[in-house]
C-alpha cells in the first residue's frame, strides 16, 4: 500500500477558536490540502469517522472533552499522524500530549511555513519498495509498512515505524537524538529531545518484552540510541521470559 500521490491529503483541524480554525483552513488549502474543521471535542470522533483524515491537527485546549482525551481516543482507533497545537511550551504539557499519542507538536504562535513543514513531514511516506529487513525475529517490510515479531504483527504508528526502521537500518551506528529528529521528524529543532524520548518509550513498550530491560534498542547514555545487533553474540538467544 504505497502512498497515493494523486489524492489530496486530508487534514482534520480540531480547534475551538473559530477564527484560528478558519485561518488554518485558508492556509492549508492554499498549500493544496483538503481540510475539515471540527469545533468541539465531543464531535471529533464523528468527524474522524466520516472525514477519514490523513492527519489530525489538534488544539490541546478544547471545550468539553479536553485535547488529551481526544488524542487518546483517536490513537485507540487509528495510527493516523497527530500534530498538537499548544500554547503551553512548558515541558510537562508537551510531554503529556506526546504521551497521549501525538506525533509532534507546534507551539503557538507559529509561522505558516513551519506548520506546513511539520504537516508535510508527517504526511510523507517512504515509497521505496525495498526488500523486507530481518533483524533478529523482527521483520520490517518497508513496502507494506508492516512489522512482525516472531510472525506476530506489531501495531506501530507510521512514526514508530520510521523510528524503528531508521535504527535497525544500521545497528553499528549510535543515533543521537538530534539525528533522529532530523531523519524521522524531518526537521531540526535544537534541544527538543523530549519528542524522541517519549516516542522511544512508546516504541519500546510495543516491541520489547520488558521495557525496563531493552533487548532490541539500547540507550547509549549521554549520546543516543542504538539497535542491538542480534548477530553480535549477546542477544542471539531470546531473552528469558518473565512469565
Amino acid at each position: 500500500m504505497s502512498y497515493r500521490r494523486s489524492k489530496r491529503d486530508r487534514v482534520l483541524v480540531v480547534d475551538d477558536d473559530g477564527s484560528l480554525a478558519e485561518m488554518l483552513g485558508i492556509v492549508l488549502s492554499s498549500e493544496g490540502l483538503t481540510t475539515e474543521v471540527c469545533r468541539s471535542g465531543d464531535r471529533v470522533m464523528e468527524a474522524f469517522a466520516s472525514f477519514k483524515p490523513d492527519l489530525v491537527l489538534l488544539d490541546l485546549m478544547l471545550p468539553g472533552v479536553d485535547g488529551m482525551t481526544v488524542c487518546r481516543r483517536i490513537r485507540e482507533r487509528s495510527a493516523v499522524p497527530i500534530i498538537m497545537l499548544t500554547a503551553k511550551a512548558d515541558t510537562p504539557d508537551v510531554v503529556a500530549g506526546l504521551e497521549a499519542g501525538a506525533d509532534d507538536y507546534v507551539t503557538k504562535p507559529f509561522k505558516n511555513t513551519e506548520l506546513v513543514a511539520r504537516i508535510r513531514a508527517r504526511l510523507r511516506r517512504s515509497d521505496a519498495v525495498g526488500d523486507p529487513i530481518e533483524f533478529g525475529d523482527i521483520v520490517l517490510d518497508p513496502a507494506a509498512h508492516t512489522v512482525t515479531r516472531g510472525g506476530q504483527p506489531l501495531e506501530l504508528t507510521p512514526l514508530e515505524f520510521d523510528l524503528l526502521a531508521c535504527l535497525i537500518s544500521d545497528p553499528s551506528q549510535v543515533f543521537t537524538r538530534e539525528v533522529l529528529l532530523e531523519r524521522v521528524w524531518g526537521y531540526h529543532h535544537p534541544g527538543d529531545t523530549k519528542l524522541v524520548n517519549v516516542h522511544m518509550t512508546r516504541l519500546r513498550s510495543k516491541i520489547e518484552d520488558e521495557a525496563d530491560n531493552p533487548q532490541i534498542i539500547r540507550t547509549v547514555r549521554g549520546v543516543g540510541y542504538q539497535a542491538i545487533d542480534p548477530a553480535s553474540g549477546k542477544n542471539t538467544d531470546p531473552p528469558p521470559r518473565a512469565r
Binding site: D17, M23, V27, M61, K88, P109, K111
Partner: protein, 510 residues
C-alpha cells in the same frame, strides 16, 4: 587538642561545668588552706604556751637544785647536773613529752662545749640561733624547729625552750633546753588536711554534678529549640516546640511557636500568590497566543501576497509582519520574566559544552546581518558545565543581539575559560562602549542605552539573560569604557549551588 577546643567552643554545657568545677575547686581550696593555717598556728601556739610554762617551772627547779647543791654538798657540778637531768627526765616516766639538753659550762670555746642530754636528744638537736640567744641573754627563749628526737630519732617538729643556768659556786654558766615534740599536733593537722582534701574533692565533684544537671535542665529546651528551628528553617513549616508549664522556657516556646505560625501563614500566603500569578501567566499566555496566532497567520498571508497590492497596502503588510515579530518576542519575553518573578522558572539540566555553544555564534544571523566579524578564543578544548542548554543558548544570543544593536562594533570576540569551580563565557565588543553606571543599567528592564541607536528589540534581552544566569547560580556582569568597547561575562558554577569566582576578568574592569 583541637577536639577539646572544639568541644569548648561548641558546648555551652562543657563550659558551664568546667568553669563551675574550676571556680569551686579554687574557692574550696582557698577556704581549706586558710582553715588549715589557722588551726595549725593555734595548735602550735597552744603547745608553745604549755611548753614555755612547763619549761619555766623546770628551769626554776634546776636553778634551785644547782643553788642548793652548791650550798650543801661539795660534789662536782657535773654530777649534780647529770643527776638533775636524770631526775627531770625520769620523774615523768613514760609519759614524758620532752627531751632535755644541757650545755656547759659555757666558759670554753663555742665548739668545745660539753653536753649532757636525755637519752635520745643529741647535741645537734638545738638550733644554733636559739643557742646564741640563750648564751647572750638571761631570759627565757623559744623557737620552733625540727630535731631528731624520740625513740627512733626521727626528724620531728619541736618547740625548743632554753634558758641560762648559773652555778653560784664556780660562776659557770650552763644552757639548758627543753625540746617539746609537736608530733601530736602535726598528726592532728595532717588528719585534718586529709579530711579537708577528701571533703573538698567530694564537694567539687558534687558541685560539678549539680552544674551539669542544672545546665542540662536549662540547655535541653534550648537544644530542642535549636533542632526545631533548624527543621523549620529547612522548610518543615509544621514544626512547633512543646509548651510545658509557665516558666521562661515555656514562654520562649510559646513565642517561638507564634513566630513560626506567623511565618507559616506568610509563606503560605506568598505561595498562594505565586500560584495565582503562575496560573494567571499561563492563562494570559494561552488567551493571548491563540488570537496572536490567527493574526500572525493572516499577516503572513497578506505579506506573501504584497506584490499584488498597491504600494501603501504592501508597505502596511510589511510593517504588520515586522511588528508582529516584535510583538511576539515581547510577549514571550514578558512571560519568561513573569515566570522568573513567580519563581516558576525551572532548569532542564544537561552537559553543555560552552566551547560548542560559542562556536555556534559564528553562524549567528543577527551578527552576520549587522556585518560583525566573530573571533573565538579558548574554544579548542571542550568546556563542559551542567546547565540548561536552551537558556545558555538564549543568554549568548541575547548578548550577541545586544552587540549587534547598540555597539556599532566591527567585530566581536567570544572567549571561553574555566577554573576548577567555574566556567566563564565573555562577549567583548570594540564599539562605542559604556559610560557611567551603564554597565549596571543595561540589565534593567526596558532600558535602552541611546534611543537614537535603538533598533527595535524588546529591551528585555539582558534582563532575561541575567535571570537565566542567576537561575543557574551564576552571574552576568558588564564592563565598558567609552570608545573602547564593552564586555559582558557570564560565569556559571561547575556544580550548581556552589558560589563562583569568575574564570575570566575583563580588561575593561577599572
Amino acid at each position: 587538642m583541637r577536639r577539646v577546643v572544639r568541644l569548648w567552643r561548641r558546648s555551652l554545657q562543657t563550659r558551664v561545668v568546667t568553669s563551675t568545677l574550676v571556680l569551686s575547686a579554687l574557692a574550696i581550696g582557698l577556704t581549706g588552706w586558710a582553715l588549715l593555717r589557722d588551726v595549725g598556728s593555734s595548735l602550735a601556739d597552744g603547745r608553745r604556751a604549755a611548753a614555755v610554762a612547763e619549761a619555766r617551772a623546770g628551769f626554776e627547779l634546776a636553778q634551785d637544785r644547782l643553788d642548793s647543791a652548791v650550798a650543801t654538798e661539795t660534789a662536782p657540778q657535773s654530777v649534780v647536773l647529770a643527776q638533775m637531768i636524770d631526775s627531770l627526765t625520769g620523774d615523768r616516766g613514760t609519759g614524758r613529752t620532752y627531751e632535755l639538753v644541757l650545755q656547759g659550762p659555757l666558759s670554753g670555746g663555742d665548739d668545745e662545749v660539753p653536753v649532757r642530754s636525755s637519752s635520745v636528744a643529741s647535741t645537734g638537736a638545738v638550733p644554733a640561733e636559739i643557742g646564741r640567744s640563750v648564751r647572750a641573754g638571761t631570759g627565757l627563749f623559744w623557737q620552733y624547729a625540727k630535731a631528731p628526737i624520740g625513740e627512733d630519732a626521727h626528724e620531728t617538729p619541736v618547740v625548743v625552750v632554753g634558758r641560762q643556768l648559773r652555778a653560784p659556786g664556780s660562776g659557770d654558766t650552763y644552757a639548758m633546753y627543753y625540746l617539746y615534740s609537736m608530733r601530736e599536733q602535726q598528726e592532728t593537722l595532717a588528719l585534718m588536711r586529709n579530711a579537708l582534701l577528701l571533703g573538698g574533692l567530694a564537694m567539687v565533684m558534687m558541685v560539678g554534678g549539680v552544674a551539669w544537671l542544672v545546665s542540662r535542665q536549662v540547655l535541653d529546651p534550648v537544644r530542642m529549640a535549636r533542632r526545631v528551628a533548624e527543621r523549620f528553617a529547612a522548610g518543615n513549616l509544621d514544626q512547633r516546640m512543646p509548651v510545658d508549664g509557665e516558666d521562661d522556657i515555656a514562654r520562649l516556646s510559646t513565642s517561638f511557636n507564634q513566630m513560626a505560625s506567623s511565618l507559616q501563614r506568610q509563606i503560605n500566603r506568598l505561595e498562594n500568590l505565586s500560584r495565582l500569578q503562575q496560573r494567571f501567566v499561563s492563562d494570559v499566555s494561552h488567551e493571548l497566543r491563540t488570537p496572536l496566532t490567527t493574526v500572525r497567520m493572516a499577516g503572513e498571508v497578506l505579506f506573501e501576497a504584497r506584490d499584488r497590492f498597491d504600494p501603501q497596502t504592501a508597505r502596511s503588510a510589511e510593517l504588520l509582519q515586522g511588528e508582529l515579530d516584535r510583538f511576539e518576542a515581547l510577549l514571550s519575553d514578558l512571560l519568561d520574566l513573569s515566570r522568573f518573578d513567580a519563581g516558576a522558572a525551572k532548569l532542564e539540566l544537561a552537559d553543555v559544552d560552552l566551547a560548542d555553544v560559542a562556536r555556534d555564534c559564528i553562524d549567528d544571523a543577527v551578527l552576520s546581518r549587522a556585518g560583525i566579524a566573530v573571533s573565538l578564543r579558548g574554544t579548542d578544548e571542550p568546556v563542559f558545565v551542567r546547565a540548561d542548554p536552551r537558556r545558555i543558548d538564549r543568554i549568548l544570543r541575547n548578548l550577541l543581539a545586544n552587540v549587534a544593536k547598540y555597539s556599532q562594533s566591527p567585530r566581536v570576540e567570544v572567549t571561553v575559560a574555566r577554573t576548577p569551580t567555574a566556567v566563564s563565557l565573555s562577549v567583548r565588543d570594540f564599539g562605542v562602549g559604556l559610560q557611567g553606571d551603564e554597565n549596571l543599567r543595561i540589565f534593567d528592564r526596558f532600558w535602552r542605552g541611546d534611543p537614537a541607536r535603538s533598533q527595535g528589540g524588546t529591551g528585555l534581552g539582558l534582563s532575561i539573560a541575567r535571570e537565566d544566569a542567576a537561575l543557574h547560580g551564576g552571574t552576568l556582569q558588564a564592563w565598558g569604557r567609552p570608545g573602547l568597547g564593552a564586555e559582558v561575562i557570564l560565569t556559571l558554577p561547575r556544580e550548581i549551588g556552589v558560589p563562583v569566582e569568575p574564570a575570566l576578568t575583563s580588561e575593561l574592569a577599572r
